[in-house]
Symmetry: C2
Subunit: 162 residues, 2 copies
Amino acid sequence: MTDYMQEALLEAHDAMIIGEVPIGAVVVHDGKIVGRGHNLREHSQDSTLHAEVLAIQEACMTLGSWRLEDCDLYVTLEPCPMCAGAMINSRIRTCYYGAKDPKAGVAGSLGNLLEDTRFNHQVKVVAGIDEEQAAQLLKSFFQAIRKKRKAAKLAKKQAQKA
Amino acid sequence: MTDYMQEALLEAHDAMIIGEVPIGAVVVHDGKIVGRGHNLREHSQDSTLHAEVLAIQEACMTLGSWRLEDCDLYVTLEPCPMCAGAMINSRIRTCYYGAKDPKAGVAGSLGNLLEDTRFNHQVKVVAGIDEEQAAQLLKSFFQAIRKKRKAAKLAKKQAQKA
């Protein structure tokens, strides 16, 4: 189980390298990874291209079906409503996730859409897989951004003084 | 307002013609349609290709930005969690929709994700625009499917008897 999350973490790392918020996901079917993705919102300037959506789209293409009934999804961060909805729509079996997202997560933090029995499909939720690593990756990313911004501000101030 | 919904209904009609559940959407910016889409789940075998997602993706491409802050979205059916989430993520201003979806709609029927103040953006909801037309289109589509299935069953029975 943790091996697949390590693959999702590799995807998250790929996102970080290109300056995207580091979130990664993989879809697993019969022990094989059939879809993978990392957040590409900034590079694509497309609000829908979250890691989970890209991994689901690739899995649909690999398996030739929109029904991913025997598939599990591993994602480094708790899914937002869009990604939780995409999992319900594609009938993902289980969602394993790493870090919690108290601001937008809907698999435990702000309710639980995935296990809501009012919808025609429920996705089992398993939280906290390799949580520390996923959280640390996000923390490092935002720390680096703040550092960069601070340095840029300082450089601007010094240029104005000179 | 109803003119844009008529464009969304044209999209829904395009979906019906190719045998997809008739749902259509358009995104409007400064009085112009910048994105349009209709449900393509079966043809693409991709669970994420709902009308709203396609319309949002096209709007992002047209405007060169994932932030659709001054944009309104018109859709013939109440959005599901995935599409409501995509609207929140892209910061759509207002969602106008036609028919209610008591089974999966989250803009009034099964809660209201779009106006949930716990998220970092709220989408204003205006329901019931050209509702009758949108509902009738869906009704006709499902009636035709049931009729086809009944005829196929009958033909099979007769073939077994012969």
